[in-house]
């Protein structure tokens, strides 16, 4: 051994190294949770082991913060939404009572597609898979009795995101909370809609203009708000591999950066508020490698390609959700084990927040009992397993480091392809990949490969193609009654009767006018329209008049 300063135990950081001294300073400056950082048996443990760069140090492979979960556990953010706004409001309050620390809103299909509950398209879908929001009145009920200055709210919506954000800001304003004090995230990741989730309204280019308008608006007026949550979750659920999820998501992130910079925003003014959303599937080490690679790639590209100088712009902070697609309808209780393992991968991968799926979600929205078990699952990971004591506890393990490198290698190959497609622009490459079916084709190929492997028995899914004996009862499911649709329609009719139609008409005309002027920010006229109780669909259509609609080429 030539390095005499190095301790005998290679896993213990060399206290004299410059990187470790920097780490130690940063760690000591952090506020820590008031618990003993020791094992169950009372063995004290260090905040980090292994080699630099340490957590909180570029390129952040090992974590975005030096003290990680010693300072603050990941946010336990449980996604909820069903029925009317009042139904979901009650579930929100239950989540907060049960120790949930953030709200996450699921909207129903018509809302996600910018349709009102009384649209012919909405028949049978109102309040089914999330909460129905037609006007500001619904948003007022959704957050009634919740102090919006004291929670962080995530809203999963994309096509009509600008309108929903405006409604949230309007509700806060009515309750005396300044929009500058609102904390939260709106998904608003339109690229992955064309690639995977398919909840688009307008063609890609005007849709990206709306996204950049929202980035500009929140940069100026809502400094605590994350205007885009760049989401691989849906790409994975649609069938991609882990590396495709990683690469498509980060490429989409680069594309938003290029779009916002082109719209005149300095990269360091907004990039720090971009956040990510990944899937945590069942292949434990592949997932952990993916999370670690995501941080390293993002940091390097932001610094080297996009010239970010603010450290925060380089941090890939992300939300994780366990893989809905991995849940089986057969022997549903087995899903509790799947979710626990996936949640553990998220924690070991250094996620900033986590949603754990409920075991009954293969068939319906979760019952309250199943949702509670899911929350308890991540509380067990957080408080009982000890994994939160040490940052990146798997860092340095040969397999984990190899997997991290492999994920990065595969992702870089995809970036190179997109860069080629876009002649040196990832933004143009992503547009081109949407237009030529590259993304949907790759995802469908991967999905089919997986299904064939399951079909041929080369891949075992417990309870589905092996070990199928035993309880197969589906148990209680959450049912949304047909009355929900009737109630929501009545609410909408009432609001339309009460409002000033002339004011609505003027506000909608202003939205169309702003849409026609590419340099005008759409947020101001949308906020005005929301205040008149113009409906979601009316505002969507006011923009559609200018932007047109997008129809996907049907390819399999």
């Amino acid at each position: 051994m030539t390095d005499h300063a190095k301790p005998v135990d290679a896993a213990v950081p060399d206290p004299s190294s410059e990187a470790h001294q920097r780490y130690q300073e940063a760690y000591e400056a952090a506020r820590l949770r008031d618990i003993p950082f020791e094992t169950m048996s009372g063995v004290p443990v260090d905040p980090v082991y292994g080699d630099p760069p340490y957590p909180g140090q570029y390129p952040y492979t090992r974590g975005v913060y030096p003290s990680m979960y010693r300072s603050r556990l990941w946010t336990m953010r449980m996604f909820a939404g069903f029925g009317t706004a009042e139904d979901t409001n009650a579930r929100f309050k239950a989540i907060l009572r049960n120790g949930g620390t953030g709200l996450s809103t699921a909207f129903d299909m018509p809302t996600l597609m910018g349709r009102d509950s009384d649209s012919p398209w909405s028949l049978g879908e109102v309040g089914r898979a999330g909460v129905a929001v037609d006007t500001l009145a619904d948003m007022e009920d959704l957050f009634a009795g919740i102090d919006l200055s004291g929670v962080s709210t995530s809203m999963t919506i994309n096509g009509p995101a600008a309108i929903i954000l405006a409604m949230y800001a309007a509700v806060a304003e009515k309750n005396g909370v300044a929009r500058a004090d609102l904390a939260g995230t709106i998904q608003n990741d339109i690229f992955k809609e064309y690639q995977a989730q398919k909840e688009y309204i307008y063609p890609p280019r005007p849709s990206v203009r709306i996204v950049t308008d929202m980035i500009r608006f929140t940069t100026a007026e809502m400094p605590r708000w994350h205007p885009v949550s760049i989401s691989g979750y849906h790409i994975r659920e649609a069938g991609s591999t882990a590396a495709e999820e990683l690469a498509f998501t980060l490429a989409n992130g680069f594309a938003y950066v290029e779009a916002a910079v082109a719209a005149g925003v300095d990269v360091d003014e907004f990039a720090g508020r971009l956040s990510f959303f990944f899937n945590s599937h069942s292949d434990f080490f592949e997932e952990i490698g993916k999370f670690r690679a995501a941080r390293r790639i993002w940091a390097r590209w932001m610094k080297e390609r996009y010239g970010a100088t603010n450290e925060r712009s380089m941090l890939c902070r992300f939300h994780t959700q366990t893989a809905g697609v991995s849940l089986t309808a057969q022997q549903p209780e087995n899903n509790i084990a799947r979710v626990a393992i996936q949640a553990l991968a998220g924690a070991l991968g250094g996620t900033q927040s986590l949603h754990t799926d409920s075991f009954d979600e293969a068939l319906a929205l979760p019952t309250e009992r199943a949702a509670r078990i899911a929350l308890r699952t991540q509380q067990i990971v957080a408080h009982e397993t000890g994994v939160a004591n040490v940052a990146d506890p798997l860092g340095g393990a040969p397999y984990v480091e190899w997997m991290t490198d492999e994920m990065e290698r595969q992702a870089e190959a995809i970036f190179a392809h997109l860069d080629d497609l876009g002649n040196g622009s990832i933004l143009e490459g992503v547009y081109a990949g949407i237009e030529n079916g590259y993304f949907v084709g790759e995802i469908a190929d991967s999905a089919y490969r997986f299904e064939r492997e399951v079909n041929e028995g080369r891949r075992i899914i417990v309870g589905v193609n092996a070990f199928t004996d035993g309880g197969d009862g589906q148990g209680d499911l959450l049912r949304i009654s047909a009355e929900t649709e009737e109630m929501q329609l009545k609410r909408l009719t009432d609001v339309k009767q009460r409002r000033d139609d002339d004011a609505v008409g003027r506000a909608l005309a202003a939205v169309t006018e702003a849409a026609a002027s590419p340099t005008t920010n759409l947020m101001a006229p949308i906020l005005d329209a929301v205040h008149t109780y113009a409906t979601l669909e009316e505002i969507v259509m006011a923009m559609e008049a200018e932007f047109g609609t997008y129809v996907e080429k049907a390819i399999i």
Binding site: L123, R128, Y448, V551
Partner: protein, 166 residues
């Protein structure tokens, strides 16, 4: 029209001629090559992973797949089934709208004077299966159905519909 280039129901194939020959011969389970299946997502639901996998399964089983894709209406599906002389219509539902949308599809097929069987797959709780069958849905395929089960269910539905019609 072949799978992979379907952009809607705007084809002008020799559908009428095909119809005549189809009527002359009774179907047997081994005649998959003759089966023409329209696959679609009805309504707003955008979950198309399962339907795309099924499209490839049926294609691999030798059937001809007319994939309409997303955001179809009962009218657009009936029109496509008519123009393509489809032997069956396959819908995939993931948004809990099946109790409304699947019966609407069956009614639209009947209203057009057709007897094309409607096969439903996706997320359908067990307790809803009988309701859908009572409403005239030919078969409901649950999550976890194997490729062989999917192809067989479509064949059986077509055979049953042919038997009903004769």
């Amino acid at each position: 029209m072949t799978v992979g280039e379907t952009e809607g129901a705007d084809t002008e194939t020799t559908a009428a001629a095909d119809r005549e020959t189809a009527a002359e011969s009774a179907l047997t389970p081994t005649q998959d090559a003759r089966l023409r299946i329209v696959l679609a997502k009805l309504g707003l639901d955008g979950h198309d992973r399962g339907l795309k996998v099924v499209a490839r399964i049926l294609r691999d089983a030798g059937m001809e797949v007319i994939y309409l894709g997303l955001r179809q209406t009962t009218e657009s599906i009936v029109t496509a089934a008519e123009q393509e002389d489809a032997d069956a219509i396959g819908l995939s539902m993931h948004n809990a709208g099946h109790l409304t949308l699947a019966p609407a599809m069956v009614s639209a097929v009947a209203a057009a004077g057709m007897n094309t069987p409607v096969v439903v797959g996706g997320i359908v709780p067990e307790e809803d299966v009988q309701t859908l069958l009572d409403a005239g849905v030919a078969t409901v395929l649950g999550p976890g159905a194997s490729a062989a089960e999917v192809a067989q269910a479509v064949r059986d539905a077509v055979i049953a519909a042919e038997a009903d019609a004769s």
